[in-house]
Structure formats: C-alpha cells, structure tokens
C-alpha cells in the first residue's frame, strides 16, 4: 500500500488522540500562533525558558487541525523540553520526519512542519530577530 497508510501508524494516531503537553502556561516567555490557511490547521505554542533565556524548560500547545499537524506538534512539544534555543533553530524538515518515524507524502509536509515553524518563528520574534509581520505565522 502507498505512502499515506504508513502515515497513520499507531504512534501518530496516539499523539493525535492524546496530545502531550496540551494546554496553556501560566507565565510563558513567549507565545506564538501559526496556521496553514488552506488546511485550517492552527497551532498555538507557549514556551518557558530558563533564567538565562537559553534553554527551553516547559512547552505547551493548543491547536486544531489534521492528525499529522497535531501529532507532530505533540511529539515536538515533548522533544523541546531541555533543548537550547539554538538547537531549536537548527531543526529542519528531516528532523521532523525522523521524529514522526513515518514517510510523509509530499502534499502533507506543510502539515508536519507547522509546529516546528511556529516554535522557530516564536523564538526568533522573542529575540527580536524576526519582524512578526514578515512571517506567515503570527503572534
């Protein structure tokens, strides 16, 4: 069977049905929202950093969308704990497909990487390196 069926392995469905770190934080250092308008996928990510502002201590997300985007955000929220902001910056698409552990069909890559994009843009805006208006994701 084709690529797609592999996309819905148990792990993906599990993260979709029981998303980890789902909810909002009391006092996040930054919050960022992004969407894929054509899919209607929306993800809001909240992050607390350590005192130096370098390491991610706590992450939570809320959102609405397809199983691929939601499962990807859920898995990413797990991975981000303890990661430095620099490490977050360097996450690329391959890291996301590796994390998901399944082949993502070309038309669905956008869904898979939305969470990462929101996290990276949010961090950049927080450090003043990105103009919020210049991103497709928005604060």
């Amino acid at each position: 069977m084709g690529l797609g069926s592999d996309m819905y392995r148990q792990q993906i469905l599990d993260h979709y049905k029981n998303p980890r770190n789902y909810g909002e934080l009391e006092d996040p250092d930054f919050t960022h929202v992004g969407e894929n308008p054509s899919c209607g996928d929306t993800i809001k990510l909240e992050v607390e950093l350590d005192d130096e502002g370098e390491t991610i201590e706590t992450v939570s997300f809320t959102g609405d969308g397809c199983a691929i985007s939601m499962a990807s955000a859920s898995m990413l929220s797990d991975q981000l704990h303890g990661m430095t902001v620099e490490e977050l910056d360097s996450l690329d698409t391959d890291d996301i497909t590796e994390m998901l552990g399944v082949d993502i069909s070309p038309m669905r890559i956008k869904c898979a990487v939305l969470g990462r994009q929101v996290a990276q843009d949010g961090a950049k805006i927080h450090r003043g390196e990105l103009d919020p208006d210049a991103t497709r994701t928005q604060e």
Binding site: M1, G2, Y8, S105, M107
Partner: protein, 425 residues
C-alpha cells in the same frame, strides 16, 4: 432495479476511451506516471477539479501538432490557413453548443477564471463606481468572489452576497432584497462546486434585468454535465473551462452578448486583436478576436471543439442523468454510513458531486487515507473559503463524478470512508 441497469449509456464503452482509468496508483507520488510500485486500482473522483481526456480529443490535439501546427491569422501559407480555419471553427462549435448567436459571442480564454477577470477589468473598471453594487452569492468560487471583491475595492462599488439557506440553496427572498436599482452586475455560480446546488440562474438573470443590471453565470460546473443555453438562461455573460469537460487545460470560454462585447474596450493588447496601428493610436479587430490578444491556445481550442463533439455524441441530457444517479447513490450510501456530514441539498436535487466530512477525521487525513485505497478526491476549501467559514468547517472532502464513473467506484469510496472512520474511532 440496480443502479447499474439505469445507466443512460454504455459506461464500460466510454471507459475504453480513457486509458488513464486503467492505471494503478499507490507507489512513489514524486515519480510522474505509473511505475512498478503502483499496485492499487485508480478510482478517480476528482472530476470537478479536472476531468480526464478521451482518446478522440487527444487525437485531435496530436493531429494538430503532427499535421498542421502553425500560427493562426498570420500566414498566407497553407498550414496557417488550415490552423486558422480549425481554430475559428472551434468557436462555432462552442457557439452552437451553448446557444450563442455565433462566433462573435464566443471568446476563448485560458479558463473560467480568466473569463471572469476579462469582464471585471474590461467592463467593471470602466463602468462601476461608488454608487453601484455587484451582487454575488455566498457560494461563489474564489474566481468570481475575489475578482469582484477586488474590482469593488478599485472602483468603490460595494459587493453584496445572496445568502445560502441551511438547506444549501439560495435564499431568493434575499436575492430580491439585495438586487436593487443600484445593482450593476449579478454574478452567480450555476452549479456550486461545493454544495452541488443547481441555482436558479434564469430567475436571477430576470431579477437583474428588472433592475437594469447585467448578469453573469459561472457555468464551470454546469456546461460539462447539463444542457446550458445562454438564451434560455437569459444571461449577459457566461464562462466555463474546457478541462472540466473532457477538453485540455489552457482553454476556457467567455460568452457575452454581442452588443455588450462591442461596447467594451479590450482587456489585453497586442497580436491578433489589432487591426491598424500607428505610433499614435490603434484600432481593434472584430469580435471575438478583439479579446484574444497574442498567439492563442490553438491546439487547446481545437481540442475543446473535439471535447464538445465527444460530449454531444454521448448526449448532454444523458450525462446529466448519469451524474444525478451517481450523486444520489453516493449521497444515500454516505448518509447510511453514519457519522458523515454532507453539505448541500438532498440527493435528487444536486449536481454530480458530494462534499462531506466524517466526525473526528480531518478532511486532509481522510483524503490521505482514501488515497491509500486508490480513491482520488479533493480535500480543502475547494476555492470557497467564505462558504466553508459559514458551514463552520475549515475544509471538506469532495467526491465528484463524470461520464466514466461507476456505482462500483462509489462503493469503493464508501468502503474507504468506513475504514478511515474506524481507524480514527
């Protein structure tokens, strides 16, 4: 009686004209064309996006390139004459097909979208002002909705939308209230590409006429599958695309009443649309060439004429009946499945498509899973975002049928939908 026995024509024989229906899918989607890893039968239910091309149409296009490829209207040589005659006659075939007076009323464009933009720019920019309004429906395709919305911003004209009822039909009381003496244009989709509603274009055109407004029918989803006659509808403009009715991409049609087209300035300049040029000024060719600037889509225009002949050979009323059968069957079976929300009017009142959502399954996940079963459908907003906002969903899955689709293919769709629903349960 089984639905198969009610087919109004020999569907199996039609399928033989479409070799693409023989291919399988399921392998590497980044490799164009079938390869050895493809091992699932294709069930193509994305005809509202684009239909397949039968052999006679492929042959007409190939024949042009193989034996008389040449630019039109530019040469005295024999090839150019042959190409010019075939390209011009294609306009006559279209005129006959939609009941237009003649080729003067048939302008070839790239697609429906370009036809709408042509009118919006050539007529709208010149004629509309802040006191005018343009009346659309809430179920317009972006091709018309965005075009008039943006022309409204440029001219100051306001845009009004006729409301869609909970049943998915147009609220005609609202139409009568919104179309008033300040209305300059009423543009409505004939068959909705999302709700499958067949809209009362004749009544809307009459309402427009009563108030001195022009009318425009977006017939992209109606000309391919039901009798459409511009006189009978009473519209001033009408547009459709070749690629949704067995024709090639790159060719669409704008029908316009001759007197109106005559009064409009060209939208694009250059090439075949010109009669006489000096350094100071230019004059334009006669209709329809005045609106066909530059080298047109010659093979595609000839291919469209071949597609119309193909469709007419089957019989447009029979095609309408076939679509109605499949749409009603699909509507009933999906309803019986449970947990499926279908948008638009009841099964026997719709065009040949069904847009729906399954509880707990996002449209994109659903279409990915359907794809695993070889079932090709569209997932998304189908270029009707505001309508989806009104329906309260971000996206839906749409199965759309054409002449070669079968009851067994609808069954394959329903089986795959059940699998998807159970996977996410």
């Amino acid at each position: 009686m089984g639905v198969q026995e009610q087919y109004p024509f020999d569907v199996a024989a039609i399928r033989d004209d479409f070799p693409i229906l023989e291919r399988s899918v399921g392998g590497d989607p980044t490799a164009a064309g079938q390869d050895e890893t493809d091992d699932i039968d294709l069930v193509y239910l994305d005809n509202a996006a684009t239909s397949h091309t039968p052999e006679p149409v492929v042959e007409a296009i190939t024949d042009y390139y193989r034996s008389y490829n040449s630019n039109v209207h530019r040469g005295i040589h024999q090839l150019s004459q042959e190409a010019s005659v075939a390209y011009e006659e294609a306009h006559d075939v279209v005129a006959d097909f939609i009941g237009a007076a003649g080729r003067e009323e048939v302008i070839f464009t790239k697609n429906t979208t370009e036809a709408m933009n042509l009118v919006a720019y050539a007529w709208g920019l010149a004629e509309l002002g802040p006191d005018d309004n343009v009346v659309l429906t809430e179920m317009e395709h972006h091709a018309s909705l965005v075009t008039w919305q943006q022309i409204g911003k440029k001219t100051g004209a306001s845009v009004r939308y006729i409301e869609v009822t909970d049943e998915g039909t147009l609220d005609m009381d609202d139409a009568a209230a919104k179309i008033d003496d300040d209305t300059a244009m009423v543009s409505a989709v004939h068959v909705s590409n999302t709700l499958a509603t067949v809209n009362p274009i004749r009544e809307l055109a009459a309402l427009a006429d009563d108030h001195g407004a022009l009318s425009f029918a977006d017939a992209a989803q109606s000309v391919p599958n039901r009798p459409v006659d511009v006189d009978d509808l009473g519209v001033d403009f009408l547009a459709f695309s070749g690629h949704k009715m067995c024709g090639p991409t790159g060719i669409g049609v704008l029908y316009g009443r001759e007197a109106l087209l005559d009064s409009m300035e060209p939208y694009l300049y250059g090439g075949e649309m010109i009669r006489r040029v000096t350094f100071e000024d230019s004059t334009w060719e006669d209709l329809p060439w005045k609106f066909e600037a530059g080298t047109p889509s010659i093979a595609q225009g000839i291919g469209l004429a071949a597609a119309i002949e193909y469709v007419e050979d089957i019989g447009i009323e029979r095609i309408e009946e076939h679509e109605r059968l499949l749409a009603e069957y699909a509507h009933d079976r999906l309803t019986d499945l449970g947990g499926v929300e279908i948008y638009g009017p009841p099964g026997d009142e719709r065009g040949g498509l069904v847009a729906f959502n399954v509880d707990g399954v996002h449209a994109h996940d659903l279409s990915s899973i359907l794809n695993d079963y070889g079932v090709a459908v569209r997932a998304g907003d189908h270029c009707t975002q505001p309508l989806h906002d009104k329906l309260g969903v971000a996206a839906s899955v749409r199965a759309s049928f054409y002449i070669y689709n079968t009851v067994e293919e609808v069954d394959a769709l329903v089986d795959a939908v059940r699998e998807a629903r159970d996977l996410f349960a």
